[in-house]
Symmetry: C2
């Protein structure tokens, strides 16, 4: 198909598609003449993925580029690819402050307590420590008391995610599943948590009138 149809099918403007090609988010079409290029379903699929990551996942263009780079090289061992895809999916949280050291300890303690086989000083652990440090700085350090309930929930979710993702027919789909599951899954989880909040709050504070 030509770029116009690709645009029509995905709802992405033609100049935007060209922009994504320039930015390396999308491979260029196969040139059939100096001013005609052919795009196929892989382009369409990739373009939908890019839009999903940007719109629903809230990723920046450069973050998408990094993630896709990890998806790309399927030569490396699977868990390495997953790992780097995962790392680049975790936004860097440059949160400083006096509380950070204590928060890091809390993270390490949590990881040890749960017996998680993961490095507490990776991107995810740092992000968690940053969030906890912020909570402490806001006088909400007591929030950490419910951390184990969160951990229970996360174990449950991770198991469900793996179950879904494990059904992938090949490595490429597997990695794509991880990316989608992580990014869009975050959005799903966040939205659903709000629904559950509303429900729990309605039960507790009795909003029977509306």
């Amino acid at each position: 198909m030509r770029i116009g149809e690709l645009s029509r099918r995905t709802g992405v403007a033609v100049p935007t598609i060209k922009y994504y090609v320039r930015e390396g988010l999308l491979p260029a079409g196969r040139l059939t003449s100096p001013n005609q290029a052919d795009y196929d379903e892989t382009h369409e699929r990739r373009l939908r993925l890019v839009r999903g990551l940007i719109e629903v996942g809230g990723l920046s263009v450069s973050a998408v580029r990094e993630v896709l780079a990890a998806v790309e090289d399927t030569d490396r061992p699977v868990h390495k690819v997953l790992g780097s895809a995962h790392e680049s999916l975790t936004p860097p949280h440059a949160v400083g402050g006096a509380e950070l050291a204590g928060a890091r300890e809390a993270v390490a303690a949590l990881v040890a307590r749960r017996g998680w086989q993961t490095a507490p000083d990776g991107a995810a652990g740092e992000a968690l420590a940053g969030a906890l440090a912020t909570l402490r700085g806001l006088g909400h350090g007591g929030f950490e008391e419910v951390l184990d309930a969160y951990a229970d929930a996360c174990e449950r979710i991770a198991t469900a995610d793996l179950t879904y993702v494990g059904r992938a027919p090949d490595v490429e789909r597997l990695v794509e599943g991880v990316v989608v599951g992580t990014v869009i899954g975050d959005a799903v989880l966040s939205a659903m948590r709000r629904l559950a909040h509303t429900d729990a709050s309605a039960r507790r504070y009795g909003a029977a009138d509306d």
Copy 2:
């Protein structure tokens, strides 16, 4: 204290503080003379909250303004205040597409199935529907099979959140707890989910070497 000390204590640059005052995120200091104003701990607390919402929560300045407006008027019934705080915390997801209708039905079915007392067409429900529609468009509609595992986890988390937040000494703290819990809690949950993923993935795909 004067603006310089407020800046030193919070690590926020003086012009940025002024900018926040202009934008209505922070009340102005009490003028003691035409060119001197006095700031107290409430300013410091608010400023830390603003920074947390922006840095860790990833909220925009205008989103912070909306949220704070909801926090502000504590005259209204508690559950209304919580509701509007909550609504303004949910980013609008303008995801269109053919899949949206089906995704909305899936959300409604989920809400009915779980017996949640919440409107499936509120901001959170729409966000969830948008995410599900995106998944469908990416060929990951099968993800919806694990939705109930997510729902289990969310119920657990919501209960924990309510437990924490219910300890607030007054209405203002309660609402602030909801805001912080929702926004920073999202970051906590997202980071922790990644940790759990790494663990689950290590167990499954055996990354004993690193």
